[in-house]
């Protein structure tokens, strides 16, 4: 009698496990599908970003706003080998005084 009960419980447990496994597999398939959709959306967004960053779109906007490349370019050259004439003094905690 006990053996029969164990067999029935085992049979039902196996069936339940199998059903759960199948349900999980279907859920997994749905999730994979959702991931694919999100990846596709991500690709679309990349395209959109690239279109928005296209200089052919930005340059006319910059021109309209009056932005221009400086005609007279100056560069400041810093000689790192020469010590700076100004030496900052610091307190014990490293803060400038």
């Amino acid at each position: 009698m006990i053996m029969a009960l164990i067999a029935v419980v085992a049979f039902l447990g196996l069936g339940f496990a199998r059903t759960s496994l199948d349900r999980t597999a279907f859920d997994l398939a749905e999730l994979n599908k959702a991931i694919e959709q999100q990846l596709a959306l991500n690709e679309q967004l990349k395209i959109e970003v690239a279109r928005l960053e296209n200089p052919a779109r930005i340059a006319p906007l910059a021109d309209a706003m009056g932005l221009v490349i400086p005609a007279d370019t100056h560069q400041l050259l810093v000689d790192l080998d020469t010590p700076s004439p100004v030496v900052a003094e610091t307190d014990g905690n490293g803060a400038n005084q």
């Binding site: 496994l21 199948d22 999980t24 597999a25 279907f26 398939a29 596709a40 690709e43 679309q44 990349k46 395209i47 970003v49 690239a50 279109r51 960053e53 296209n54 200089p55 052919a56 340059a59 490349i69 005609a71 007279d72 370019t73 100056h74 560069q75 050259l77 000689d79």
Partner: protein, 592 residues
């Protein structure tokens, strides 16, 4: 033995019925048993296979085509999932409404679509490869008989800006032009396939049979192109076509040291997404093919370089010590006659007469003056000092007459052919006639002068990237063509052309620039020179330590812009200014 008496014994009818039923039941069980045996044992393999075939789906998995990027990681081309919209005319209940709605949304001809929707066809494509959002909008109208299936499409987010670099693919995703064609095998990847069991709802059956061979995506290409510079260069060329009423304008920007192509542009431009030329003049063109200017002239077009080629003639003469920069060439006239009566026959078909662009008195000129003023007669005299064999040797060393090896679609090799016994070939070649080059060949030749006499293979792809990492391109050839001393002298001569010669239009404020103008008449269909010219300018900056070479060719500008100095030099100046800004090159005189 007892004798039977009375009426004979009869079978009990109920019992007989029971026996009959028993027999039938037994026969039925036997039949079912046999059937089960047949199904489970005899036909089991066949039926299992039949069942599997109903559940099993085999699907080819298309590989993702590789992306194309500029040198800063800006996207130039990529493939995205799109929808191809189709209709089954028999199932379309309101064809007029469908045609009107779709026509408005997709920009297709509503009348033609209506005709097709009411035709006898079983299936019609409405539009292939419609981007996701737009396709969803169409499908959202829930029109009967209108369906969609997924299909990847190639998208070029830069639009026309890099069209002459990337090229394009056809509707089936095969490379047709540019990098898409040259690197088709690399970009394409390897298809995979998936076999799996599915249920009636189309879902994968868990624990079912699966056999998946994944597709291998194509490799991404990292190009040497700088997208903002590419845009500025293209803008300059488009403006030049408008300003000079030219047929086209082409330009290439080359890194002197590495041979990297930083920009490569043409005008009129085209949209790689639609494969249509964007030129208003095309609306009036007799044939639609007349305006399908997809061929990149920088790599695939050839032209007579004219005076820009004098750089090679003079570099060769200096290297061979046939002349010095200050050598005086005596009695330089404004025309020279290499064949009897060639200049005064009155027949344009008679070759052998060469003239300077401007009339002038016969005078003594230094080699530097000849170069700066671009005197044809003086240059021919220098070429004659050099000799035909030596000139050819240097033209070849500078890469003329052979492909540069650039990684771009079907490169032209140009023409460098001296007929035996030709009396004018040396003179013509010395001043850039009777030879044909690509703009890229000229840019590479000038880059050699900027690179202390070392010629480098121009190239447009820096590396290929896949899941295993980045692979640098191989096969970048370098070779010494002249000494650093000669290269330095040539750079100074080129600077003098811009500072006081024919190329003043090529100057860039704040920088010392060197370059050379070129103007060559175009050959007509009857093989005679026409009034149309190809105006060009090739130069480099900063001249003290060149970083960039820019070559510009303007095809058939209006007569008042017919020279390289007027048509091409200003374009060069605009592009070079942008290139120096982009590369962060210090203006001359501000270096430490």
């Amino acid at each position: 033995m007892p004798v039977p008496t009375g009426r004979p014994r009869r079978l009990n009818p109920g019992k007989a019925r029971m026996s009959l039923i028993g027999l039938v039941v037994v026969a039925a069980w036997l039949g079912m048993g046999y059937r089960l045996f047949e199904i489970q044992v005899v036909r089991a393999p066949e039926l299992a296979e039949k069942g599997l075939s109903q559940r099993l789906v085999t699907r080819e998995m298309a590989p993702q085509r590789g992306k194309i990027f500029d040198r800063n990681g800006n996207l130039l081309a990529m493939t995205v999932e799109a929808k191809s919209l189709f209709a089954v005319p028999d199932q379309v209940t309101e064809p007029l409404w469908v045609a009107q709605q779709i026509g408005g949304l997709l920009g297709v001809d509503s009348e033609k679509l209506y005709e097709r929707l009411t035709s006898d066809s079983d299936f019609i494509y409405i539009k292939r490869q419609v981007e996701g959002v737009l396709a969803a909008e169409v499908l959202g109208l829930e029109m009967e008989g209108v369906f969609a299936h997924p299909e990847p499409t190639r998208v070029y987010p830069g639009g026309p800006v890099a069209a002459h670099v990337t090229g394009f693919v056809n509707i089936d995703g095969d490379g047709q032009e540019g990098l898409e064609l040259v690197y088709d095998e690399v970009l394409r990847g390897t298809p995979g396939h998936a076999e799996y069991e599915r249920d009636r709802a189309g879902r994968v059956i868990p624990q079912g049979y699966t056999n998946i061979v994944p597709a291998i995506p194509g490799k991404d290409l990292m190009t040497t192109i700088d997208l903002p510079l590419q845009y500025k260069a293209q803008d300059a060329c488009v403006s030049a076509v408008e300003r000079t009423s030219a047929q086209s304008c082409w330009a290439v920007v080359l890194s002197v040291e590495t041979g990297e192509i930083l920009a490569m542009v043409g005008a009129p431009v085209f949209d790689p997404d639609t494969r249509q030329t964007l030129d208003p003049r095309c609306d009036q063109a007799e044939s639609p093919d007349a305006c399908r200017l997809f061929k990149n002239f920088v790599v695939r077009g050839i032209y007579e370089p004219g005076s820009t080629q004098k750089m090679i003639t003079f570099a060769a003469a200096l290297e061979e010590q046939q002349v010095e920069v200050d050598t005086i060439v005596e009695d330089v006239a404004d025309e020279i006659e290499l064949l009897p009566d060639a200049c005064h026959s009155g027949d344009d078909d008679v070759h052998g007469c060469y003239r300077d662009f401007d009339e002038h008195d016969t005078m003594d000129m230094t080699v530097a003056e000849i170069f700066t003023r671009s005197s044809n007669v003086g240059s021919i005299r220098v070429g004659q000092e050099l000799g035909e064999a030596t000139l050819i040797e240097y033209l070849e060393a500078f890469g003329l007459g052979s492909r540069t090896g650039v990684d771009y679609s079907v490169e032209a090799e140009g023409i460098l052919r001296f007929d035996t016994g030709c009396q004018t070939c040396l003179a013509s070649a010395a001043i850039g006639y009777s030879v044909a080059v690509t703009p890229l060949q000229m840019a590479a030749a000038y880059a050699a002068i900027g690179n202390d006499g070392v010629w480098t293979t121009p190239h447009i792809v820096k590396s290929q990237v896949d899941s295993e990492g980045e692979t640098e391109v191989a096969g970048i050839e370098t070779r010494k063509v002249v000494s650093p001393g000669t290269a330095l002298l040539m750079r100074e001569l080129l600077a003098s052309v811009v500072e006081e010669g024919t190329g003043v239009g090529g100057a860039v404020e704040g920088y010392r620039v060197g370059g050379k103008t070129g103007t060559a008449n175009k050959l007509g269909e009857d093989n005679r020179y026409t009034e149309d010219t190809r105006a060009s300018f090739v130069g480099m900056a900063p001249i003290s330590d060149p970083e960039v070479v820019v070559a510009v060719v303007v095809d058939a500008p209006a007569y008042e812009y017919r020279t390289g100095g007027l048509a091409a030099a200003p374009v060069f100046s605009q592009i070079m200014e942008q290139a120096l800004h982009r590369l962060g090159v210090s203006p001359d005189g501000e270096k430490g």
